[in-house]
Symmetry: C2
Subunit: 852 residues, 2 copies
């Protein structure tokens, strides 16, 4: 029979096996016990028991017997008896999955109390007079807490029989794996559904046992800034739940040194030991019972992106970890947080309140007071700030939907703070300056200002400020640690990272973020600008080729300047320019008054123009007359754009700016489309370049039509580069219109049909198969072929890992995603190094390669 219960200190030694079996909390308790750190005795029911229970709705065979044995063993250790009226053993029952899910699972403290044992507990330590009274108060406090928690978690009345209590509590922990909020959390954080939770049963120690007792949580370094400084909060005479629940606002850990100096000294020693042992910042829970320190939990601490970067770089510099480890430690998606714009410090808008800077970044939106409303508003694209007294796990959906979260109570480790950091969302917590009135849907600041639902506020999660009105933002800045980490990352990467940039400004930002070129410059974005769209419209409404060419001549002047600016910003790096892609009707007005205005300018009647626009409208514009299909119809547009690109390049070169234009033809599905347009481009370009023979350029194509993948070898025989447009490729491979699929993609994910949103993370099985086929066929035909990707997936870490394994040369993403992509590319290369079979390289050599 499978062993299902492990005493702390007796679990398996292999860390992965251990946490698979015992969950994160159980593994930590096990390890701490081994390290000789004071932990109240206890044991863990393995996750396998939960899995079997959820499947069969019954306890695994033998579990009850093992449980009885384990409790007996605890009784022996403690010299107390479970359910004994005079000398009762009390335990806590806590969930603990492999992956930490704060606040999502259930905890019951003080289990074993009933009317009898409560009296026993009081008697156990009572003297007479005041001490007797305190002991009774303490025991009653424990019993009250127990009954509240039990009722809340298990439901129904509390049985007097402690064994029944225990079994019901274990069942409740098992069931809590499948609550809607746990499922939501797992969906948001992509945690597998089939892990199950372990159950930790541990002798109670009491932080609420009077004035020498306390309870708290702490981090070995700052989870907010990463600063190498012990950081935490505690409450005197309290049980652990009080800190996390945000009911009382706790005191900073430094205060503990003054109040319980000996316990504080032990705590400092323990935290140092733990961080050293795990080589990572630890998030610990402790209780001090009448002056004695107990550790109740240790786990790798969640942290802000800023902290993650600083801790990783610091630890590598301190020699605790290798540079490769430092790179592996930082979740690239978290970096996004550092790259979002901050509030303009000189915004001049009134700061109406201040709270704790619980999760950095800035957020702006209309105030809502209900999570449901936040969720609904997000569905319609409206930006909101969720304001609550405090948050609870039921608020998950609303927090996810909001731009930021503001709570009136709770500390830096309150539910709101922890969850917001996990979601990479700005949060101001414990804002005692405001009083929230949910019913009246308003909050009032301490100077009496009322803010109602619908009013716009801005949160600064980095400073804790609440600002009335919408505040302008200033671009993100990369600090030195960040730069260091990315520099290290580049040393490991095989993939080059480029940026999608449509303007000289975008290009400059991209260069600042370390982009090695432009992978996608969308020329149509230039035409949507206010001063250009009339010229574009003039071109589209031209009655003949001559009139069209006159309009194109005007556009050419503008485009030449655009390209020149981008070439200048990207000096020395390649710039991939995609020729005009969208259907022409996108440039024409839809609203009646706009059509009337344009008709007047164009010398048409309203009816004529309306009919013309109607005749151009397409049933499925996504699959319509656009991309290279337009170029076949209107070669003069291609010629104009080619001239603009080449003249800009010639100008840049004449000023000594090294320029590498790469002209990209969109929406190619047949090699004939490519060659016809390529020949057009070449003819025009070569004529312009005649006096500048040292300027070389490339002509390539987007690979975004499934058919292009199927005839990739033919196209590769003609093209100099491929750039996967995985947005459109995903649309066509799945048959999902990105504009419409929102209706069912969420439902599909909930039903388990889709693991990820395929527009966020590339579908490796389907779309990815086309990518692999294309790379193989393309390189087989043309070994010099450069291959990249310029869809949204180019900035998604999971997708980047795939592109690395598929053998691409580069990824291109939005400028603010460039750092994310650089780090993800390095991680992909490191992962590859681990899984590669390298028979001829010794471990020493790899270490050298890792630049430790």
């Amino acid at each position: 029979m499978q062993k299902l219960i492990y005493f702390f200190g007796e679990g398996p030694r292999n860390p992965t096996e251990r946490s698979d079996l015992l969950g994160g909390k159980g593994a930590g308790l096990n390890e701490m016990t081994c390290l000789g750190i004071p932990v109240p005795p206890g044991f863990t029911i393995a996750t396998a028991a939960c899995r079997e229970f959820l499947e069969t709705n019954a306890w695994p065979k033998g579990l009850e017997e093992e449980l009885k044995e384990a409790i007996k063993r605890l009784e022996k250790i403690m010299g107390r008896t479970f359910g004994h009226a005079k000398n009762p053993l009390l335990v806590s029952v806590r969930s603990g999955a492999k992956v930490s899910m704060p606040g999502m699972m259930e905890t019951i403290l003080n289990l074993g109390l009933n009317d009898e044992t409560t009296a026993g507990l009081a008697r156990l330590k009572s003297g007479s007079g005041k001490a007797c009274l305190a002991a009774t108060t303490f025991a009653d406090d424990c019993y009250r807490r127990f009954k509240e928690m039990f009722t809340h978690v298990v439901g129904g009345a509390v049985p007097q029989n402690p064994w029944e209590q225990l079994k019901m509590a274990i069942d409740a922990v098992f069931h809590s794996w499948n609550t809607p909020r746990a499922k939501t959390y797992r969906r948001i954080h992509s945690i597998p559904e089939d892990l199950g939770t372990a159950v930790n049963i541990q002798v109670m120690v009491f932080g609420n046992r009077g004035e020498k007792s306390a309870t708290g949580v702490a981090f070995t370094r700052s989870p907010s800034t990463g600063e190498k400084k012990f950081f935490g909060e505690f409450l005197m005479n309290a049980q652990g739940e009080d800190v996390v629940a945000g009911i009382r606002t706790p005191e900073p850990i430094e205060q503990l040194a003054k109040m319980l100096p000996k316990a504080y000294a032990s705590l400092m020693e323990v935290q140092k030991k733990l961080e050293g042992h795990f080589s990572d910042m630890q998030d610990i829970e402790f209780t001090i019972e009448e002056g004695k320190l107990y550790l109740l939990q240790t786990r790798t601490g969640k942290r802000t992106a800023h902290a993650a970067v600083k801790i990783a770089v610091d630890m590598a510099k301190e020699g605790m970890i290798s540079r490769a480890d430092a790179i592996r430690r930082v979740n690239p998606l978290l970096l996004d947080q550092l790259l979002h714009p901050a509030l303009d410090p000189d915004h001049g808008k009134p700061v109406i309140a201040r709270g704790l800077p619980a999760s950095p970044g800035a957020g702006c939106g209309k105030v809502v007071f209900e999570s449901r409303k936040a969720f609904e508003a997000a569905q319609t694209g409206e930006k909101v700030i969720l304001v609550r007294k405090e948050t609870s796990p039921d608020d998950i959906d609303g927090m996810h939907a909001a731009q930021g979260i503001l709570t009136a109570t709770g500390g830096m480790t309150s539910h709101a703070a922890v969850v917001a950091r996990g979601m990479n969302k700005c949060c101001v917590a414990g804002c005692g300056d405001i009083v929230v009135n949910l019913k009246a849907e308003k909050f009032v600041t301490k100077d009496g200002r009322e803010v109602r639902a619908g009013d716009v506020i801005t949160l600064n999660g980095t400073t804790g400020e609440v600002v009335l009105g919408a505040v302008a933002t200033v671009p993100a800045r990369i600090d030195d640690d960040f730069k260091t980490l990315l520099m290290w990352a580049d040393e490991f990467s095989d993939l080059e990272v480029r940026a999608n940039a449509d303007t000289p400004h975008d290009a400059a930002v991209a260069i600042d973020f370390g982009a090695r070129g432009v992978g996608l410059c969308r020329t149509e974005h230039m035409f949507f600008e206010l001063d250009r769209i009339p010229v574009m419209q003039e071109m589209i409404l031209s009655k003949d080729r001559e009139a069209r060419i006159r309009a194109l001549d005007k556009l050419e002047v503008m485009q030449t300047n655009d390209f020149y600016g981008i070439f200048k910003a990207m000096e020395g790096y390649p710039v991939t320019i995609r020729l005009l892609d969208p259907p022409l009707h996108e440039f024409l007005p839809r609203k009646k008054q706009d059509i009337e205005a344009l008709a007047q300018t164009a010398g048409l009647t309203y009816e004529q123009l309306r009919d013309l626009i109607e005749s151009m409208t397409e049933v499925n514009p996504m699959l319509g007359h656009r991309g290279c299909r337009l170029m076949v119809t209107y070669p003069e547009i291609t010629e104009m754009q080619t001239r603009a690109i080449m003249n800009a390049a010639v100008k840049a070169m004449s000023e000594g700016i090294e320029t590498h234009p790469e002209i990209m033809i969109p929406l190619v599905g047949t090699v004939e489309e490519f060659t016809i347009i390529r020949d057009d481009i070449k003819r025009v370009a070569d004529e312009i370049l005649l006096p500048t023979p040292n300027l070389s350029y490339k002509i390539g194509t987007m690979i975004e039509i499934p058919r292009a993948c199927l005839v990739a070898s033919k196209i590769a025989g003609e093209a100099e580069f491929f750039s996967f447009g995985t947005n459109d490729l995903t649309q066509m491979t799945y048959g999902y219109s990105r504009d419409d699929a929102g209706r069912f993609i969420q439902q599909y994910r909930a039903a388990g049909i889709l693991k990820d949103d395929p527009f966020m993370t590339i579908d490796q099985e389907g779309v990815g198969e086309l990518v692999r086929m294309t790379v193989q066929a393309g390189r087989g035909e043309n070994s010099m072929l450069k291959i990249g990707v310029c869809g949204e997936h180019g900035g998604d870490p999971k997708s980047i890992a795939f592109f690395h394994s598929a053998g691409l040369n580069y990824v291109s993403c939005s400028p603010y995603r460039v750092p994310v992509a650089r780090l993800a590319a390095a991680q992909a290369a490191l992962l590859d190094m681990e899984t590669e079979i390298i028979p001829d390289v010794t471990v020493t050599e790899i270490k050298v390669k890792e630049k430790v």
Copy 2:
């Protein structure tokens, strides 16, 4: 140096090589010379010369020398000299490509005439008095014709130097390959662009040399009915162009027996010999010069579908060809002509004129008098009849666009008749009952009735009747020859042919045409009927699941009846039913008054319903919330349809009707979609079938999303059949919206980017690659997997050949296409047999297999 000129009788013996080199006309002249049939001496300039000329714009090296040699040789044979004033050699110069393109290329007769040689020609045969006058008239007639033709074909003035005439004429023939009308013809008939034309230069014989001279064209069997009867027309004292041009109405060939009995007897002997030699019906041109017969051309005759079938079956029965040959002889696309409805014989509408039944079938539309207008009308979907005095190659586009063609002059072999038959379009030619006034845009019948542009007429191409007004049609009937041919075809086929049928009526038609089951029953078509759409709308507008189920219950009753009717019609054969596919918003109204009406019924305000419809509208409905995506959202629709199918099947079985339902899930892109919906269906179906265990059914899927092809092996592990939906698969693989791509597909074909319209003929390279991958992966996983196709391509012969080679089990097409598909499937199997390497089977065995 490559030999470029071949004397008649001296070309290569291999028929393919010969016609590649010499073109069709040249090959025929060559062969006839070999057979000892009287042919005026001459030679052919090979097609290679034309190709080189078109590429380099210069004559190939050595051509001029060869030409001089060849003319010298002709001079020697005839004892005349080219350009000699007294004894001039005259020649014809005719184009002749490998593939016959009647009327498209250029011909010049009587070349070699100038002011001097014309006098010489007249003197050559002149006596005195009347004979002298006749000879002069004859010579002048020849010179006039020559000058007219030369001016028309070459352009500019006629040079006096016969060598210059000859070289210019040859140039003109070369150039004529690339006239717009030749290109149009090739595009319509899918003739390769790079064949080039040969040039035939032949000694003139004169059908216009007086009362014992004549010229004519004839067929060895009737090209219209296939009847085994020599069939033709001639003109006394005329040159060949007169017959074809339709200027004079010729006499039937039987008359020739009376007028020139000796020549007629020779002609009968020659035609018999030619048909026997070529084992096919021949189309011949002859000239009788002063009583002596000359053959000027023989080629396999074009024929109506009806004639093609009859000739093939007759010849097989006569033992001239094998049954396999008979099958190969008939172009499946031509069968379509036999399958189109004919006019209701009891229509009672006035027959206002009668002409020649030049091309069978029926056509109805508004009268237009200009080809351009016919073309424009077709663009907007309007049906027109093109009415002309006679047609010319410039009318190609208009003829193609019209429903039928009516001409006032010209015979059964006039341009209009030949081209209409080739286009499979009904035509009444030589209708002397009408007078066409192009300028006034009207025609007047002999009893004075005026028909103006825009009036509706109906043509009966089978009888030659012109009817005023629109006439009802009666279904096509399959005659015995047709049945025989298809019966033979089925013996060779590997592919099963099913029909797409949405109603019991469609199913019955399909069975009549030999379908072996229904490959696609589109259930939504049932919901679009007038009495059902309100219930469908009620279902869509349901406020909750309960209301939706109430509406679905009503639909279920209707659907059960539909399915029962189809099962009954298809007794014993499988019926594949596709569950609801289109997005729900397709069932809701678009027009204001319809929305108002529905809002009232549904108890909504106009604004509410309008907003609801707007919110359901999709940017790209093709890629939207439809197919299995709807079934995931609304499992109750799937359940209703499953109940309807199964209850109908149970009812049919209870009446002794053998039933094989196959339930098909549309738009599957992931195996999870399939299994979720499959499980839903199975649960409902198995409950209904509990009392009827002998009723088996299958659950399979459409393969129409590119991703489904990429994960085919997974889906094959769960599905019992695949049916390729090549319409949608083509849309997504190419990224072409079928509704929008018309804008550029024609342009793409003209530019050579697309060879065929990919919605007509499957794209073997791209979409076909997905089909091949899917078949391989699907069968690899599930060797029992049945695979078919139910897109439009299922009725296209070229596509059917591909599906055969890809190893599909069946094709499904519209009922009227079933015979086409059966024949195409047999041809594909035969082609496979030819190309297969069959090492163990002797030729005798193959003969047995062919059932000769």
